[in-house]
Symmetry: C2
Subunit: 433 residues, 2 copies
């Protein structure tokens, strides 16, 4: 029964490590997919900037330097976009849909900025845009939210979705490396790019939580709406204090359903060691999901790398190919069809760890403590770190009781205004069990 | 576009906690499923032994005491079997397929004993048997193996798939409870049944790994083929020694692809603390999967309970309903279409922890060590536990280097033959990083 089915033709734009992985899997598993999945997948066109990539993969005969050739190829049913970024890749994806082709993409930047519009355009034409690889590498979180967990009202999605920063924080914690050394090590190991700003600044994680939020809560959000803090200000001393509190510092991407709307943000967090996410170390990613029926679940795996991403892309290709083979034309999935309010970050209540670099002299505690009091920010504990003899700077560490972020911000401004700080204050949210 | 679609009618057999959860979710989310999933799901019939369950759920008008009424109801498209066990439930499932109805089941016993045949019968008729809830409660492991990870050659599946034993082992480890106390506590908390033999003996975990193995490696295996050891012989001292070796004791359900075939088993294992499964505690389940492309992944969640199981059942109902709505008739999934050899457990190589209860007198170490040597079982370490003054019994603990299980068994027989043992030896596999 799988012999008389029509082939599904794939056009691949981008032949880097992920694209290469996809080509290899489609070759290796063609017969399995035909026998077990009922789809006859054929790669009929590919494009990249470097012809040698096509030669190395043995697909020189299908190769073009111009992605448009793939999109305009009448034989192509599914365009697989692995270029990345929001420039030409975005044009490719829209052009593919315009020409009636399905799209599989690993592009988080596109999905986090115009995913809602893309799904709308696709849906109106009875086409699909599949994007499992855009979040969490090979972790099948998109599929789980779309299918297996569909009976749930999702209450929270909390993820460690950036391997670079998780690797750096793991190393800073276990080996007391400073930020610069941890970054250099990550770059040396190929876990961080030459320009790491999107990772360490939190933008990468923000794009991913925007996608997960849109899907999990069916409300349209875009990258720009995610309040984002990175890890660039963190020092080993912060991880040591976390350890003292039996907590681990993680860069979390958070989306919570609240009575006031969706509370969504990216920032470093001191997480209780008992939390399932606390033991996710190194370059691994994990997404923790709480649904009203299923309760707590967590999905763990390699968040980056050619193999994991290729695994996710191929999973999408098979699903879209089956829809073509079966002639399914109804919209692929809901993606932000509602408009839930977003909770202003100033209104979000949390405990905070605040480290203040101050001169090593008396009166500073009283001076700064007064500013907390003036802003009705209740102090849970205060610790004074040893002074750095080289410049006589001491570290004053406050941990607050749960307080509105707005009040904490006002407190920091007040302390800045006293002119007592010798450096930037460091703020880390503290999650209590 | 979702208004002109035909309704999909559900018949539910079994209205216990899981069935009740399914009824509630189908009611609550009917409009979401219609709008977002394109399926119009309607409960048209249900059966259970207790009418009051139907009354409590407000479905008295659909109720019957006889499951056959549900199966024979011409309106029913999908029969949801939540009776459990291999008796009448098995008959219901076959009868449903015979009468041309699709099946969604949470029944691990059926799937682990005649799942291959059931899928065959269903496939021949263009029907489906969906069983996400049969393994790992609400954890979407079946869906992940069937869909998202389909581009992978699965190399290993290792699961903590029994919440009762994981709860007991967690408590024995953290609070040094003995086996009987831990079991009593589990029963008091509703985590263990009055007759816990299927859980503590490992049969429950064996059924689940049989299902996962069949799916992950596409090779037919049944419950009876799984070499199974439970946790009934374990004592706090064993968990303390594991702690000394920086390991955690877990009841693992294992399936590995090897050059000789599939190595499948269920037994307590000393797992390095750094392993992702080591931090899965209490009643939680987790399934660790390694694929050639995706690498290491893990799926974590509540392995039991009405909510999680209902979440999985509803996910299956939606998928099957979509296949009906779209008129898809090709076989649902491959399930053991190949016949890979199973590695005889005697040939499996592992390190072993062996605890020998012996009289507290000299010469015993030499006597027992000689038997290890005679069987070419290399000893990695030996520890002598403090004697129990009450009966003068000492605990002799050996940890072996990797060795064939057959050689270890011969060693134990040899030691038994010396007549020196004052109790049953305890054997736990030791997994090294």
């Amino acid at each position: 029964m799988t012999t008389d089915i029509r082939p599904v033709n794939i056009g691949l734009i981008g032949l880097g490590t992920v694209g290469g992985g996809v080509v290899r899997i489609l070759k290796e598993h063609h017969d399995d997919f035909l026998r077990d999945q009922g789809v006859d997948i054929r790669l009929v066109a590919c494009a990249s900037r470097m012809e040698e990539e096509a030669v190395a993969l043995g697909v020189r005969d299908l190769f073009s330097f111009d992605g448009s050739d793939v999109i305009n190829n009448p034989e192509v049913d599914i365009v697989v976009e692995l270029v990345g970024g929001t420039g030409v890749a975005r044009e490719f994806v829209y052009a593919a849909l315009e020409s009636g082709k399905r799209v599989v993409t690993a592009n988080k930047a596109i999905m986090a900025t115009c995913g809602h519009d893309l799904l709308g355009v696709a849906g109106a034409k009875g086409l699909e845009v599949a994007f499992e690889a855009s979040v969490g590498g090979g972790i099948p979180i998109i599929g789980a939210l779309r299918n297996s967990l569909i009976g749930n009202r999702i209450e929270r999605v909390v993820g460690i979705v950036n391997g670079t920063t998780n690797y750096m924080l793991t190393r800073m914690g276990e080996s007391h490396l400073d930020y610069a050394t941890a970054l250099a090590e990550a770059q040396a190991n190929g876990f961080a790019e030459a320009d790491p700003s999107a990772d360490v600044g939190g933008a990468d994680a923000a794009a991913k939580i925007a996608i997960l939020t849109t899907l999990a809560f069916n409300t349209e959000v875009v990258l720009e709406q995610v309040p984002t803090e990175g890890i660039t200000a963190l020092a080993p001393i912060d991880l040591e204090y976390a350890e003292q509190m039996d907590k681990t510092v993680k860069l979390l991407a958070v989306a919570l359903r609240t009575p006031e709307g969706i509370d969504m943000r990216v920032h470093p967090t001191m997480l209780p060691k008992a939390h399932p996410l606390a033991s996710v170390s190194g370059v691994f990613n994990a997404i923790y999901v709480v649904g009203d029926a299923v309760g707590e679940t967590m999905f763990y795996g390699a968040g980056a790398g050619s193999g994991p991403a290729a695994s996710a892309v191929v999973g999408d290709i098979i699903e879209v190919a089956q829809r073509i083979t079966y002639g399914i034309t109804r919209p692929f999935l809901r993606f932000g069809t509602e408009q839930l309010p977003l909770v202003p970050s100033a209104d979000v209540v949390s405990s905070f760890y605040v480290r203040l670099p101050v001169p090593d002299r008396s009166g500073i505690v009283a001076l700064t403590a007064k500013v907390f009091a003036d802003n009705d920010v209740s102090i849970a504990s205060m610790m004074q770190g040893a002074a750095d003899d080289s410049d006589g700077t001491a570290q004053l560490i406050y941990v607050t009781h749960p307080v509105r972020e707005g009040a904490l911000r006002a407190t920091l401004e007040g302390i800045q205004a006293t002119g007592v700080l010798t450096g930037e204050p460091v703020v880390i949210r503290v999650e209590n069990p």
